[in-house]
Assembly symmetry: C2
């Protein structure tokens, strides 16, 4: 089980970026996202993607992050530009254990740096939690996303020009 | 020279995601971003990151995309979930040539699919142009971002807990 914990989501300001975080979590191999702020709209959007494109990715919003963290039976990492280098960090993690990946929005309280077993940086430059999560999952899963079949009602077939879409029925 | 062409940017709706696209372009090895819509604020934000964290990444906004594309002396790729698989696409590209990477916002007009030498998919699931750009640059540059020194006034030193920041002077 790989879960993402998105903290500090502000409904108006972050709706697009948090949607990207959730879709990246799903596409690159996480099983679930917890979003601390209650946000039914984002939950519906992600569930709509899942029902069309497949997989059983789960979304929970309005959760108590301390409860999730305290009861977590597995490793906890926090993605931050200040953390340990990605490749080194991944070598430290036991992929046989469950993993909770904390992804912040703006300023992240010290608490999250402390509760994480590892603070992990995807480069030490400012960029994006969306990119950081994608690269982290890519390295952690050894690019398993490239081979995953979501078995959805809609399937996209790679093609050089235009769009090739297979549809299993009413979507 | 690697440049990113961000199309369809809507100032209010996309400001955060386009900022992430630009920061990812810089952090993962592009030299420049063109943003079709005029947006002085985003330009200032990115330039402020460059002046603090280093490098000579360039930002141009309010450009004529057709002019850029017509005069481009090099390869052109367009990132889309409908395109050719990432690894296969990267094998097709001559890294000795300049590269223009087109990154869309919402619906992308057919024109961009047509002018691209390659349409490239980073997975065939819906996720994020921010993640797609990061993964594309990671593979295309063979993860050169992990070794790049931006030589900025601010330098972050990887560390397991907390923050270690080196500052060359007034920032």
């Amino acid at each position: 089980m790989i879960a993402v914990l998105r903290i500090g989501h502000r409904i108006d300001r972050d709706k697009r970026v948090t949607t990207h975080v959730a879709l990246v979590a799903r596409a690159f191999g996480a099983d679930k996202i917890f979003i601390t702020t209650k946000d039914e709209k984002i939950k519906k959007n992600i569930q709509s993607v899942c029902s069309r494109f497949g997989g059983d990715f789960q979304v929970e919003t309005g959760i108590d992050h301390k409860k999730i963290i305290k009861s977590w039976q597995g490793s906890i990492v926090h993605l931050t530009m200040y953390g340990m280098e990605l490749d080194e960090a991944v070598d430290h993690l036991d992929t046989g254990r469950d993993l909770l990946i904390i992804v912040g929005a703006e300023k992240v309280p010290r608490y999250f740096y402390e509760v994480a077993n590892l603070n992990v940086s995807v480069g030490n430059q400012p960029h994006s939690e969306v990119a950081a999560l994608a690269l982290f999952l890519d390295r952690y899963t050894k690019a398993a996303w490239q081979r995953k079949d979501f078995n959805g009602n809609i399937q996209i077939v790679p093609c050089v020009k235009g769009k090739t879409v297979l549809s299993k029925g009413k979507t």
